[in-house]
Amino acid sequence: MARITAGIGSSHVPAIGAAVDGGRMAHPDWAPIFAGYEWTRHWVAAQKPDVVILVYNDHASAFSLDVVPTFALGCADSFAPADEGWGPRRVPLVHGHSKLAWHIATSVVLDEFDITIMNEMNVDHGLTVPLSLILGQPSEWPVKVIPLAVNVIQYPTPTANRCFRLGEAIARAVRSFPEDLSVQVWGTGGMSHQLSGARAGLINRQWDTDFLDKLTADPDALRTMSHEEYVREAGSEGMELIMWLTMRGALGPRIRELYRFYHVPASNTAVGNVVFTPEG
């Protein structure tokens, strides 16, 4: 049977991808970030997961405002890196796992989570930057990836609780898939940041730290938190952190925190990385 073996939280800042692609990883602005991810990179390489369910958001790449799915699950065989206005990132094609993705789609819709099924989708930095941070720069990604795109750029975004409960439903789906697969769930985005308005550049280190503490020990406090509080405390784009709750929901009530990294800044953003394993 397939099983969820780990959950990872990670930022997906586009400038990190540009630093990787532009060969600037040793620059003092970026070196601390890649050093901070080293533990996770080694750990994931040793774990050799078969599939990563990668929860992220699209930034006006695959989706214009013509169609705004709240949750869109990538069921295709492969997903090409998107052209975000300056050419696609030169990273490997992302290979999906259609059978597991369709199984999840079927299971969660019958479980009353009415997600959108994507049979063709390009993936932007929201998905490829966490791959670069955690898997490095291989010629082929060593894992299959099922993208789960969450709308966090057009209000109304889903509630934090809905994201969490979708994670629980995904875990039920994975557990009922007959193949023996090690599946990790990655929640990406955040941490605190705001790109526009008079508060542009907002960073809330204390709130981010509390978020990470609660993600391990008291996720109920985060899943009942209002959108207003996420925006007020973590910034308009810090709202992305609701996607980490899908990962947390998929792990079950008891988890072990294996690793935590926090750094300010990556361009406009606070960077966070956590690694969890489910306990029992």
């Binding site: 586009p14 013509d66 052209d83 790109l195 508060r199 925006v231 361009s267």
Partner: protein
């Protein structure tokens, strides 16, 4: 589609349904810049390209002036209007700095020293 609680957060644009209505054609224009052909046409004659879209004149002026604050006030979504900056080869940090009237250097220095502190920037009414 309205969420009054967001209005209490200073200097912050949450892209609500109201903003989506106001910015519908502006954001469609921005999305069109995903195509290299359209980027070239826009660069060749910005005004003529803008006139192909059902945008208000004030929105077109804000595009021509690269006034990102005005674009967001008129319904632009940050991830869409950033495509205009991408055409110019202008980094996101430079656009972010412009919102608060900072130079890119001032803004980058602020980020390196921990970012903008939220103290005093949580609530217009003073509730938080």
């Amino acid at each position: 589609m309205h969420n009054a609680a967001f209005e209490d957060i200073p200097g912050t644009y949450v892209f609500t349904g109201e903003r989506a209505i106001a910015g519908r054609h502006l954001n469609r224009f921005c999305m069109s810049l995903m195509s290299a052909v359209n980027r070239a046409r826009f660069k060749r004659d910005e005004r003529a390209y803008l006139d192909e879209w059902a945008m208000s004149d004030a929105q077109k002026q804000a595009v021509l002036k690269r006034d990102f604050k005005s674009l967001l006030e008129q319904g632009g979504n940050i991830f869409f209007v950033l495509k205009i900056a991408a055409v110019d080869g202008r980094p996101t940090q430079s656009v972010a700095a412009s919102f608060a009237g900072q130079t890119t250097e001032e803004y980058a220095a602020m980020m390196r020293s921990g970012g903008r502190n939220p103290a005093g920037l949580r609530s217009i009414s003073g509730r938080f």
